[in-house]
């Protein structure tokens, strides 16, 4: 019985390690291949938004018009001037999303961040609508928080 338990644990241990290495190699492929093809700009730079074909999130050009917080709340998920809305895979609780919010708020170009757990959305309000975070930087922030952009979530 003990031998069986030990054998099972060893098998499980190797399964776990192979899962981890598989995930690492997928991440590596993603960042050096397909992902890079969709990205623009450097890691650390904010960049000019270029409209709809801007990767996984939705960046929005606009007139830099200020909106009150209530207005943002009411229209979370809709396109607004100077705001970006991104869908985050696996973001299911507010405590877990705190890391995303905190890291985004540290970015110089970000004015405010709102999280919509129900729809797994993060809405970023920029100080200057012409200076937004690159998709590469956004992806990096999400990875550091333990998440990833949702490429095709419903």
């Amino acid at each position: 019985m003990k031998k069986l338990i030990l054998a099972t644990l060893v098998l499980l241990m190797f399964s776990g390690l192979s899962f981890a290495s598989e995930q690492e190699s997928q991440k590596s492929d993603h960042s050096h291949g397909k992902h890079k093809a969709h990205m623009e700009g450097g890691h650390e730079k904010a960049h000019e938004p270029k409209g709809k074909g801007h990767g996984h999130g939705k960046s929005h050009d606009g007139h830099g018009k200020e909106h009150g917080k209530e207005s943002h709340k009411a229209e979370l998920g809709q396109i607004q001037s100077g705001n970006q809305e991104i869908k985050v895979k696996g973001m299911v609780c507010e405590v877990c999303a705190y890391g995303i919010r905190k890291t985004l708020k540290k970015e110089a170009v970000v004015k405010s961040v709102e999280v919509n757990i129900k729809d797994h959305l993060v809405r970023i309000e920029y100080k200057d609508p012409k200076k937004v975070l690159s998709n590469e930087r956004l992806a990096e922030i999400l990875v550091d928080a333990g998440y990833e952009l949702d490429h095709g979530g419903k």
Binding site: I5, L9, L12, S15, G16, E94, Y98, T103
Partner: protein, 221 residues
């Protein structure tokens, strides 16, 4: 108990195996890079507090203190404390469109301090698994303390819960959670909890079916 009957080598292998993989931990042993987590669980006879710093999205370091205050029900027959440090690893994470699943493991060492007698070197490890969506949550964990001379102490925990409502904006979230917890071969405790959280603060209030009040908290910085 199997662990008590095994040789030191077998105990070590079981310990490593359980710690590196298996299927059960304490909640969120690895959070976001640079994140600090304070966590505590307290009830009538024992308390557990920890501070965890996430160095990398896949691993964290933590310091723990555990205090068992009674002789009755103690697996070593007397009150004891454990002070320890540990490395936590996110072994595997599944991110789905509306849910996520995680497997964590951890290994550490510290001091086992019985109320009577001298302190002992202690090894510790845990494995845990959880799955959650915006509406449902299940988790299981196994935590093991292996003092040098005293008998092993382990904790098994299973949890399941649901959210009666889901906010589409930020606000106070509430959950109903049912917990099953067992220490060594002691009688298992079943506790319904009410969980509340808002942004980075989470706390739970519960009362076991035996009438013991419980309070858990978790804060992220």
């Amino acid at each position: 108990m199997i662990l008590m009957e095994t040789t030191p080598v077998q105990r070590f292998l079981i310990f490593i195996g359980l710690a590196l993989f298996s299927s059960f931990s304490w909640s969120h042993p690895v959070i976001f890079k640079g994140g600090l987590e304070l966590q505590g669980e307290t009830q009538e006879r024992d308390s557990m507090y920890s501070v965890t710093y996430t160095v990398h999205p896949r691993w964290a370091i933590s310091a723990h203190h555990y205090d068992f205050r009674e002789s009755l029900g103690s697996p070593v027959g007397k009150p004891f404390e454990v002070a320890s440090a540990q490395v936590n690893v996110l072994v595997k994470r599944w991110l789905n469109h509306g849910s996520q699943g995680n497997i964590y493991a951890g290994l550490g060492a510290g001091s086992f301090i019985p109320q009577v007698g001298s302190s002992e070197f202690l090894s510790r490890g845990f494995v845990s698994m959880d799955w959650e969506s915006t509406k449902y949550y299940v988790a299981g964990s196994y935590l093991l303390y292996l003092p040098d001379q005293s008998g092993a102490v382990d904790f098994k925990k299973l949890r399941a819960g649901f959210a009666p409502y889901i906010l589409d904006q930020e606000g106070l979230n509430s959950w109903f959670i049912m917990e099953w917890r067992q220490m060594n071969r002691e009688r298992a405790e079943v506790t319904p909890f009410l969980r509340f959280f808002h942004q980075s603060v989470l706390f739970e209030l519960g009362s076991s079916l035996d009438g013991f009040f419980k309070f858990n908290f978790m804060i992220h910085y």
